[in-house]
Amino acid sequence: MTYPVVADNGSWPGAPSSLALGPIGVAGGLRDRFIFNSLWECINASLGGLGWFNATRYDTPPGVRQNRPVTLTKEQVNWDVEIVPNTIAFAPEDVSDPGAWELGSDYRENRWGFYCTVIAESEPVSIQLAGDIRDILRGKLPEVGRGGGPFVDVFRWDAATPYKLTYLEIEHVAISRMPSYSQKWQRYMRDVRWEALDYYDSSEDSSDWAFSP
């Protein structure tokens, strides 16, 4: 499934008007799965748009791209599958306790850490891949539909035509690298980490944990 193109005004054309821009409607683990999938689809589509999946390093003569093929995983591959550079592993981290978005706000902030581990074939490819992921998340690559700042739309992926459910605000995007390593495959490894902020609307219920229908 491809990442839906969002209109400039932030709304998905097929979305019901009541849900087009609202952060409500789905709660619980299903909401988390939509968030997880939306982030992955966003990064996957954007890396594809940048040409990372068009690699033909082993072509004779060399093809369009000179890096080895890039794979973006969504979960751990089976142990009988060879993990070769350039592999990017997408993974969720901890979800922090939600707090009020700001003092007096009806919105609750849900802060979810994510990261991508880049296992690259060379230092230049590692730097470029990690930097592309960083700016995909920061919304600084309009040429692949990722302009407009650090926001990622969340879609209802269970709909026949996925439509926008809410959005995430991306914060604290950072690239880290181990100063030393013990394995050869870690030579050109980098982690891109960020936090995705999801805002719950609790205005229609007295409970902090409640969600609007």
Binding site: Q66, T87, V125
Partner: protein, 153 residues
């Protein structure tokens, strides 16, 4: 010990080579595609490359390139220790292997690629070269190539 056998029993090494060659072939998988296949990474030159030779525009057409076809030669494979690590990508199994080639087979690789290969594919796994050591059995040069699996599936 390199050089001629002072006892003369080694002769010109032809019997030794033939015997070792049979022993090497005996240990290889019957499926040809699973046998060690040596690979040379494409050597390309770009107009806008950085100091390590990587182009800033990964879609650029190289000025020149040297693409070498893979080649299989007879060799012995010895699986050694390694390390295993669970990662978010999967299970990384970076075992090391030791390839032993006699001079005739090693020279076939050099003649084919003009330089030592960069990688070897064995049974659906990719191994990158760590170092090449050269010893000898009298007049026969022996090359030992230490490799590490990118990930042994």
């Amino acid at each position: 010990m390199a050089g001629a056998d002072p006892t003369g029993s080694f002769g010109d090494g032809s019997d030794f080579k033939a015997g070792i060659g049979i022993a090497m072939a005996m240990g290889l998988p019957n499926a040809v595609q699973l046998r060690p296949t040596f690979h040379w990474v494409v050597d390309a030159t770009y107009a806008d490359a950085d100091s390590s030779g990587w182009t800033y525009d990964l879609g650029a057409t190289p000025i020149s390139w040297n693409s070498i076809t893979d080649k299989a030669v007879n060799c012995a494979v010895e699986y050694q220790g390694g390390t295993e690590m669970g990662t978010i990508a999967g299970f990384e199994n970076a075992i090391t292997i030791k390839l032993t080639l006699l001079d005739a087979d090693y020279n076939l690789l050099i003649a084919h690629g003009g330089r030592p290969p960069d990688e070897v594919f064995i049974a659906n796994a990719t191994y990158t070269f760590d170092r090449i050591e050269q010893t000898a059995l009298f007049t026969v040069d022996v090359y030992t190539i230490y490799c590490t699996a990118v990930d042994q599936p």
